[in-house]
């Protein structure tokens, strides 16, 4: 235990002065926090492993710092709000007869750009295949493919929402550590 703490201390000393303090006091909150941290880390790892998120998400996290501490969450929230509206437009365009493929193409690329910018890998892939159906002007394939896009969108939203919820529970001091840390967890785990 002592060893554990000291190593944690060493790590924390390198990581963050506050952490040092935190780890120094092995209070229950801290333990919970570190547990949460672990949980968060594994959630994140899953998201990556399962292909929901990709490297771009890391880029977003790198952009987060003291001056904008909730950057990633803000962006993700913005994305889901905007993409919902966009997808409604696509739905509408798909129902149009005759189909305006040019417009669909534009909307699709807009959606794809958004999704890829936040690192939504699976969604991006579905968008790509949807795009292919569109360029082929496949009347049948388009709606079906788009359903998949919507599905991925919903799933990702749920996952990220729970991720961010957990994230908010972790004390901010720890968060800073948790944030950019990729899959590895602090040595205290």
């Amino acid at each position: 235990m002592a060893l554990h703490i000291s190593s944690a201390l060493a790590v924390s000393a390198r990581l963050h002065p506050l952490l040092r303090f935190c780890f120094h006091n092995t209070c229950p909150e801290m333990e919970n926090a570190s547990g949460l941290q672990r949980q968060l880390a594994s959630m994140k790892k899953n998201l990556f492993d399962q292909g929901y998120l990709d490297e771009q998400f890391n880029q977003l996290e790198e952009l987060q710092d003291e001056s904008s501490p909730n950057f990633v969450e803000e962006v993700v929230t913005l994305f889901f709000r905007d993409s919902s509206r966009l997808m409604a437009n696509i739905d509408q365009a798909l129902e149009q007869c005759p189909r305006d493929f040019h417009r669909l193409h534009k909307l699709l690329h807009r959606l794809k750009g958004s999704a890829s910018s936040i690192g939504a890998a699976k969604m991006k892939n579905e968008c790509t295949s949807f795009g292919e159906f569109c360029s082929e002007e496949n009347l049948e394939g388009c709606p079906r493919s788009f359903q998949k896009v919507k599905k991925e969108h919903t799933i990702l939203r749920q996952k990220l929402e729970s991720y961010f919820q957990s994230l908010s529970l972790v004390p901010s001091q720890l968060l800073r550590q948790v944030g950019p840390v990729d899959k590895a967890t602090p040595s205290c785990s």
């Binding site: 880029q59 994305f79 905007d82």
Partner: protein
Amino acid sequence: MDPSRAASTPSYGPPGDGGGPAPEFPAGLRVLLVDDDPTCLKILDRMLRKCLYDVTTCSRAAVALSTLREKKGWFDLVLSDVYMPDMDGFKLLEHIGLEMDLPVIMMSADDHKDVVMKGVTHGACDYIIKPVRMESLKNIWQHVVRKKRNELKELENSGSVEEDDKHKRSLDDGDNASSGCVGNWKNAKRKKEEEEEEMVEEHDDSSNTKKPRVVWSVDLHQQFVTAVNQLGVDKAVPKKILELMNVAGLTRENVASHLQKYRLYLRRVSVPQHHSRFDAHFASAQEVTYNSIGSVSGYDFQALAASTQLLPHNIAALHSGPRSATNTGMGVSAIDQIGFLNSGKQVTNSSNIISSSVQQINSRQMSDIHGPSNNIELNQHGQSQQVVQPFGSINRQFGEGTTKFFSSPSSELTNFSLPRGTINGQPNNSLARHMNQHGQQFPISQQRSNMEITWQGQGLPRSRGQLLTETACHDSRLVSALLQQVPSNNIPNHVSGGLETSANMLTSLPANYMNASCSTSPQALYPDVHNSFITGLAGSCYPRVSSIGATPQTGSVKALSNSSNLKGMDNHVPNYDIIAEQHQNKSQDWKLQNVNLPYQSGQNLRHGQSTIDCRSSLMGNQDSTSSAKNGFNGNAGTVVKNIISTGSDTDKEKRECIVQHKTNLVENCNRVTYDGIPDFSYQDILFEDNIITNELMNVVRKQQQEGIEQVDNEFNFNPPV
């Protein structure tokens, strides 16, 4: 998502004080970010700030464009998305290239080769595939530096070596991107601009003071172009060109300066190729024209033809074509063809007009050319291709050419896509039509049958818009015819009443000049951006003219006032006279006219901003351009002016159309030959002079300044001998 108009938010370093205590380069690079996707916008904004750039965000292209216009010279780089709801990214690219000549980087999730190719051909410096990574953004500053270097080099090639060396040295320092040189690249940029102006002035001076001017006739230009092509555009040196040309009396200096202009023209032409005009009309024609010009060698003229928009380049091309002299030098033939091809309809008209105006603008050349003679060879093309501005080579010979132009397109009034852009689209057509109708009345030599210059006398029943559009149809031809006619006074003053002014213009225009058409075309040709210029001309030309008069330099003001007299034909008549004496009024009127025209089109007030800028720039340019140019410009300007001054609404409309056309033409010309000499304007304005030319000149100049190839101007003008 809210279409937020981003305010300038310098994240690091001083915003726009020319670099003051600027942070280490490339920090402080002023970037304009345009993307309708709020997610991407937020992410990119953050990334750019992390790179220590000074970021301004926009979610709408129109807003971005007006921001760029308002803060001219403030931004270093533009990052734009491709798929945007209000305006196509390529169109924005085109506009920026034409007006501001800034490096633009396109972004999109679309990675299809053809789309990327489109970005490249439209002149984008780079194409980034989304998702955008930090690494991609870290190096975007290289595009800014590279562009500056290239521009400087071009100047060097044809201009004085010493100055270039100096600039180059400073630029080199800036390139080092080391801490000490932050301001250097900015300074270098400014210096380069100054240098260019200087060089232009020098040329002017030399031409005015020293040896007899060499008139770069079509034939001569053709020879020049042939020689250049033989040697290779990049490798051509004046000495060798001179040898190949084997023309007696031609000095190496003549060739050197002409080469400089030609290069600038080429550069300008190749850039805006793909600019997707906002205006549908524009876009097509312009694109084609641009493409044609750029590719000169390899382009498919047909493609050009397809594009309805005639870019000044086209005009130049056109001029070069028929002329054989190769005004444009660029594959001249190609260009010409393109010009022709493009328009078949309006485009041709516009091109004709433009070319004629351009020619007219070639003030230098103007001296040699008399109003009517400027019938730019556009006419030759017969096709109303509204090559907006036949580059320099258009030398005065427009006269003949232009008429031809006019005649060709004839039936298509509607085609004309006046630069006014969307706004003017229609009005232009009507004007064109009007013009066309009326045009016929004029004893235009060419087949003007098409030219129905409605203005004539009929009291311009149509609204300006109509006129414009009409003119657009017959487009450039008529306009130019009209315009041209004005000076020649051949045209019976059919134009009575309201049109008087315009009529005057028309009448004065040599029959050959398809002034009418010209005016329409120019507008159409120019993208929205330019429309502001043109729009001013087209519709509200008149009113604006007066207003502009106030702003432009005194010289021009007078010109304007002349035009403002348009109210009654009588009043304008003097204008026409002025035109005739273009040389006299020269630059002043010219500038004014040009400037006014664009601004005038009150309709496009929003463009007004830009136009105003243009105007001022034009004005400035004109000043430098020397009176010789004025002659030419005057024509364009005068015509325009006349149109504008006519003032009275009905007349105004018509006049405006005319004016607009002129401006358009002028603009086109300006664009092409920026050099301060609205070469095109000359063409357009066959009227020469003062009235419109000034304005047109201004417009043209401005356009040119904005990014239209300066070369164009140069080519339009006779190189200072």
